[in-house]
Subunit: 341 residues, 2 copies
């Protein structure tokens, strides 16, 4: 295990210390609890958005707390759900008179704890909460039935849900309207990734799985959950073709659709490779008659130092495109009004 850390058990507290030191203009701990991260300038009179999840995925989850995006995040240990108590603390801190929407990935610990936090917020503090559970990873099970959550895991595509719902809340929409936007973004987002190397959780001290020097795994989850298939490492173009084809046929995306693209590095893969894959993805989408509205490339949801990347597509209607284009400003994500200058 080759990491710039001190004691493994101090990894997340010490990371949070650095976060608050670096970004005091953006974020602060609610009630002095570092794991309860909220905006340092509370915005009154809007629907509040809260997320949460395990650490080890920066900038996910906490990195999207800021202007035009989320209001708070409960921070768990590495790959561990935050506690319901911390979720409740965040909920109480960010609630601004118009209710709280929870946006979370489809993981049992997070779902269970957010459910409990929401119940406590309702019963003890009379705070209305709603939840949208995101499961964008096409590798992790069949597509859910209409109105069901299903078993698909949430991965990098949750960014699109955050971004659209965040802008909707900032525009002044009501809780149920913001929830509907989040559900629409989630329903139209699909992600598939490829992993080349494992990562090591500091307190475990050994890689989360083993994979040969010449192998890759399509569809591996961001905690090392098994993927669709393992094979010899293929050229990037072939990998991109498989990812795009599986994504397109899943929703399905159709000729004439407009999408946003996210090429997401898993932590250890250089930006150069992400852009190389991005070029192929754009070519394939063009050949499929799909129009790209805008493209994001970089690390949006990682798995510590895992090498690999994921491709996410979000099908946009005019409302989602407008919301996606709205400005936002967090420690990890900054977007100016489109068109600029």
């Amino acid at each position: 295990m080759k990491k710039l850390i001190n004691q493994p058990e101090d990894f997340i507290p010490e990371m949070l210390r650095g976060l608050y030191a670096a970004h005091p203009e953006y974020i602060a701990p609610a009630e002095g609890k570092p794991a309860c991260l909220v905006r340092s300038h509370k915005k009154e009179g809007k629907v509040a958005l809260v997320t949460g999840g395990g650490s080890g995925h920066l900038p996910l989850f906490l990195g999207y707390v800021g202007e035009g995006l989320l209001d708070g995040c409960a921070v768990g240990g590495v790959f561990q759900s935050p506690s319901a108590d911390d979720m409740l603390t965040v909920t109480r801190a960010v609630e601004a008179g118009r209710g709280v929407l929870y946006l979370l990935g489809n993981y049992n610990g997070d779902k269970y704890n957010f459910k409990m936090a929401g119940d406590m917020a309702d019963m003890e503090y009379d705070i209305q909460t709603m939840s949208v559970i995101v499961g964008d990873d096409v590798a992790s099970g069949p597509a859910p039935e209409e109105g069901e959550t299903g078993i698909r895991r949430g991965v990098a595509g949750i960014f699109f849900v955050y971004k659209c719902a965040g802008a909707a809340a900032w525009e002044g929409m009501e809780l149920a309207e913001v929830k509907a936007v989040a559900e629409k973004a989630a329903a139209n987002t699909r992600t598939l990734g490829v992993a080349l190397t494992p990562c090591t959780v500091p307190r475990v001290g050994r890689p989360s799985f083993s994979i040969a020097e010449d192998e890759m795994e399509i569809g591996m989850g961001i905690h090392g959950e098994p993927g669709l298939r393992r094979s010899k490492l293929l050229p990037a173009d072939q990998v991109a073709e498989e990812l795009v084809e599986r994504i397109l046929t899943d929703l399905p995306f159709r000729r004439g659709d407009t999408v946003a693209v996210l090429i997401n590095g898993l932590g250890g893969t250089p930006l150069e490779e992400q852009y190389l894959v991005c070029g192929k993805v754009h070519q394939l989408l063009g050949e499929s008659g799909i129009c790209v509205h805008r493209t994001y490339v970089g690390e949006y949801a990682t798995s510590l130092e895992m090498a690999g990347l994921s491709v996410s597509l979000c099908r946009l209607d005019s409302e989602l495109a407008r919301l996606l284009d709205r400005p936002a400003d967090t420690p990890f994500f900054h977007q100016l009004e489109k068109g600029g200058e």
Copy 2:
């Protein structure tokens, strides 16, 4: 070599294809040459800023071309200087009537080629050029004498030079004034890093150096140049102490100074570790009576998938602080007006 690439010789052309596909609103190839990257919306009537260097360091160098920052970048092969011809093409494309300032790292190939490009721009096209050569890496030689370039290599701290000079040009300063700002930023910036793993240049196909599983190297360059010392991997706090102490004593930074901090990931090190080190750096600066004006954490100058990070400090006077705080917007770097909201 475990990379998402196709043929190694296509690595950079295919990366550039993806870059232009992802960011057409920001960047375009000058004269149709992908290695000659310029802003897609030329800004007239300002001093133009040009950089250039080898690939493999994203977001360095090309990632800082955009509003409030640079106007163009000549893109070399992996760890190779761009050609003087490409630098000249960029120079001609971005020149907007008030001269061109070259900002480059202190590497012989880049210096030689930029010198030639500047001479050709002057003689053949009557374009005035000036250069500022950045050598911020305290590990790579003694501090230069006043007015000398010295032998120190340029690394992540060049970001501060870009940012301040970029804002100065955007404010409308003259060529000599922008050059003076860049020189001041360069003279007040110091960087030191630590490497934990090597990286592999695609066309070489094997790691650039070897280092044991329990070793680190303080001061290694971003092309794997030898550092100050190699030792057993130490706890992050001890590494941070060594980096900060060597940086502080070099300039030297003094009690009461105000600085900007850059914690820069070299490619393979998770953001979590960068923030953990950031927390310790802030603590050490506080104990030294040094005030932090603002902090940047993330990948600003990488070495493909190398694990490790660097710490840069830039001592600010009121002019540099003002320029650093100005907004900027490039594919890789977005900064809103400070104070926000």
